[in-house]
Point group: C6
Chain length 266, copies 6
């Protein structure tokens, strides 16, 4: 992996909603590990990309899931014509060469990942590669960022207290209406009136969480719908295809979502 | 795998039931990942084949199940006389060379497939081959399509909200009577009167879902029965063999289905 | 595997109980996948062997169970002095060379077998060997037959609706008294009077299913008992050893079965 | 494995309790698979050894358990300096070379063993070595014998009806007092009076099964105790060490067993 | 493994509490497998070491647990420059060369260990190495000893009746006060008064088992505490550190244990 | 691994709260295995580092988790150009070369670790490398230290009594207010008044454990917050980011924690 390829040439668009940029910079200055908490699609990944660009650091992103193990992060021996050869995993690359690493939805990963994260997140800042018999001291630029969604997790999963307290936390939520309108208009290339309408639909959908909806319509989905409408697709069909129909299989909830769309569209 | 072999020489027969062709073309133009929802045998696979032909794109189809892992999609190292050699999986082939890939019944696959789908379904459009240490940027023609059946899923399975919102959704259902009659007559090579009778049986069978039938008789089964009747087999035995007896083991439901057949056949 | 070895030189004895021979021939003519449903030991395997002989096709039989995976059917790479070498599994042999394949008790197999059966059971008739990077188009003579026993299955097992509707179904049950008597007399080489007595015992035993017996005495067991009696063993001991004692461990049921034997024997 | 080593040079001592020798000979003459049912330590293994000696056949014994798989029975590829080499498992050795094979406590084995037993236990008498691509036709002398203990099984285990009906069954129980006395006196080398006392203790212990004892004291344990007493150990301590204390950890049951010992010893 | 290294040069200290030495010698003379039952830390391991020394036999000890499999005991093929090479496990070493083997906490091991123990514990005294295709006849000096703690076992674990009845049993408990005082004084190098005090604390702690304590304070822990006190550590802190605090995490039980310490210390 | 690299050049800061330094030195003098019990982040790891420095011993730390197996600790064979080569794990390195080893959160490790810890923690002080066929006698300087948190464990986990009683226990808790203030001021480089305020917040947070908080705010988190405040970040935001927001996802508990912060900050 060539770290130069992992630097952002252009600024990833991000519209701050509070002091999160400054707070992250403080944590980064001390290489305090950062935990981003918040619902799906509210901009956590984009925020990390923006901060990596802002701080001029290369960024490695790993989408975690229940099959990701410590070996997937750290590396493993591969069989070769000359026997086994060690292959650094993405975490080891970041630790050695000094990159930011972003473990998206970290609670989904196998618990053995904590064995490698703990010594990286206290005063030692080391990564033991037990199977290789090597201990890597972290490059001064190495910085660990993780995210998870506290509102939706696989049953029985969560971070252990001994892991939690190694992180500084930043809470995220969907941006407020004005900010979200600006984001949707910018990213989808549509006018503010239409963007505001889409944002209004999203806001109402999020209220359905009390009625059993796992997650409301996210900012990303509004952008998808905006792109389709700009492209000439009817607004109602665009909203159904990109906003309401993907997020639920429940007939009642889907009808409620479609009613919201019909009520909000001009 | 030679992509040329994956192009359709002849048009796969598909009879539209709404705007789905145009909606899919819009999503395809922006390479928006598409999720097809609908009951078994209502034509989702045929629709994807038809769209691949219409758009002139090669198509790779993977039938997912609970043993399909990310490695099955992405590829793995195989041992060779000269050591290990990387072997691209079907997803990597599609990403590198620019094909449509259709993951049928995607919710059945192991959750680690999300680790490879997520970075392909947002602005990055990349496929990290962690074990190979390579990140493949998707070919401009790469397009991801998935399907699942919301009415019948293994317990505890489903798409996570963070995955759902990366897709535009198209809902499918069995075609209406007129359309289904036309399809069955065309595909089985029988006259419209017989086709209409078979469609009427199917329609009544679907009402039995309220009494515990997992799925009603699908369009595909009507075509099977039609073929057998055209071939000279008695109509009642053909309907039993191809339509009623395969779909249930429950004695009461099977009798109810057979009664429907007897009542509808002339 | 040499397909010539898989052809039946002599006719496997089978006594039809209905139109099943003609129905199977129709399905075979269109290579419609066939599903045989029925209780254990009622003759499903013998029927498939008879049909393979009748149609002049080689037959490969696989007894499925919960450890049979897709790789067991499709094949795998074996390590060799020259590295890895692909080894076709029984399904691939049948698909390439044009044999009938019979998957006995298919519901017991691991669910990943559906990934290879689905594209073989619709219009495509292809077998993707993902790990080998090859897609095999089925030989025109390839024909898939499966069986299962709807009355006795491991908990939580069953065919998914999307799999069921790819098959034409033939239902089997124990033959009626006259037919079963003829079969037992023919296969065990005993006279019809004794055969009729054994059949009467079996008939009464099947009624015990309502009292908790998993399965009644099957035709195969009657033949076993007949062989032992012909060989000079006392009838009562033969019936116990080959008919009543193997099928239950419950003391009450076994006594009930033995009482039936004593009441029926002259 | 050299089959000559698996023949019994001397007669294994066995004292018949009924017609089991003749019944087994009849089943053996037709190579009917035999299932031995009965409690632990009542002599099933010794009976099979005796029959193998009597019939002049080599015998291979496999003690099954929940980690025994089909591959353990059939064989597997082992890696060698020249690549992989196939290694026949004990079942394949018996099938090829014509031995009796005895699968002790067969219900404990993994269910995939049924895949190899079924085609060996019907008219085909073949053993498919799927991974080797070979089908072995059984040697005329091959004979399959299995045993299990219906009174004590791991939860949820048992033989499927489709497996059961492929066997002729012989039921075993502890021998009656006279026979058991003779066996214990013969095997332990003690006089009949002492042997009778030990048998009386065993008989009473078996009545404790109604009070929660898994199994009573077996014939084998009586022989152990007899040997220790003959060797000069006090009778009470010998009975405790070899008969009562091994079979239960329950304080009440152990006391009840010890009381039986004290009451019976002179 | 060099058996000479496994002989005890010096007598391991053991203070008999009954006839266990003579009983073990009788069982050893006939190579009757021996099962030692008793609570943790009461001296079972030391007893076996003492007997091995007394009988002049080498001793191999294996601490079992739920990840110990038959292959761990028997051996396996290891990959080498020249292909695979068989490596004898500890049980095979003992069987071939004639050592005592002690399987500590045998019920914790995986059930497949019974497959190798059974033919070693009946008249056959053989060890089948199925994967190597070799059957090892036990050296005349081979003797099997196992232990387990009937008062504390992982749920659902235990010895099957068919395994139990292959062993002669010796029951162990903590020694009586006088004996335990002598042992503690001897092993810790402290005077009898202090040793008696520690023993009194242990005796009272064992009564707490009725209130939920898994196990009372063992003899080994008294020795630890004695060593620390002899070394100059305050008695109360030594008792807490070595006796009361390790055995429970329950605040009430720990306080009760500390109260016992305070009440007993002078 | 070079043991010289595992020695501490500078004294790791540790402020004693009782006699723990002397008690540990006594246990170390006799190489008595030590078990550190206490809540997350109260200083157990730092204490071990301090003692290793104080005693002039190299220290190897392993963060255990449910995927850590005995092989991870002991070592394994790795495939090489010349075949397999044994690779010592961290425990074997410590045993051979005479280091302290610290198994953090040992109860999380797989139970097979007990198989290697038991013979190291009694009079034998040996480490059997079963797969290598070698038994390593511990270097005189080898010392085993483990830790766990009795207040928070994965369900069903815990140390077996037979393991517990091999250790001397040291109980840890958060330091008292004066000590904690001193630690926070020293480590974060802030004045005592601010440190005292942070400590007061932590004290109140720990009382929330009764209301469902897994763990209160740890000393480590106070240091993080102190560092951020010293760096110029507003106190309230620093406390939220480093102290309250990481430890809970429950909205009520988080609000309660934030209220404590607001009430305590000047």
């Amino acid at each position: 992996m060539n770290l130069a390829d992992l630097r952002f040439a252009a600024e990833p668009y991000y519209r701050p909603v509070g002091h999160e940029v400054a707070l992250f910079e403080h944590a980064h200055a001390h290489r305090l590990p950062v935990m981003l908490k918040g619902p799906t699609g509210c901009g956590k990944t984009r925020f990390v990309e923006h901060m990596a660009w802002r701080l001029g650091k290369p960024l490695i992103t790993v989408a975690c899931n229940e099959d990701v193990t410590a070996a997937d992060l750290v590396g493993r021996f591969l069989l070769d014509a000359d026997g086994t050869r060690w292959h650094d995993g993405p975490l080891t690359v970041a630790v050695r060469q000094g990159a930011m690493i972003y473990l998206d939805e970290v609670v989904e990963a196998r618990p053995d990942t904590t064995v490698v994260l703990h010594p990286l997140t206290d005063a030692r800042r080391i990564l033991p590669l037990d199977r290789k018999g090597e201990t890597v001291t972290a490059h001064p630029d190495f910085h660990l960022v993780v995210s998870y969604n506290p509102g939706y997790q696989a049953a029985g999963k969560g971070l252990k207290p001994s892991t939690r307290q190694r992180f500084a936390a930043l809470e995220f939520d969907y941006p407020d209406e004005a900010a979200e309108t600006e984001i949707v208009a910018h990213e989808a290339g549509i006018d503010r009136t239409l963007a505001a309408t889409l944002v209004r639909i999203a806001g109402r959908s999020r209220a359905l969480r009390a009625r059993g909806l796992d997650e409301g319509i996210s900012t990303r989905m509004l952008i998808y719908a905006g792109v389709l409408i700009r492209d000439g697709m009817p607004a109602a069909e665009s909203c159904r295809m990109a906003m309401t129909d993907p997020i639920t299989d429940d007939a009642d909830l889907r009808q409620a979502l479609r009613d919201i769309v019909d009520a909000c569209l001009p």
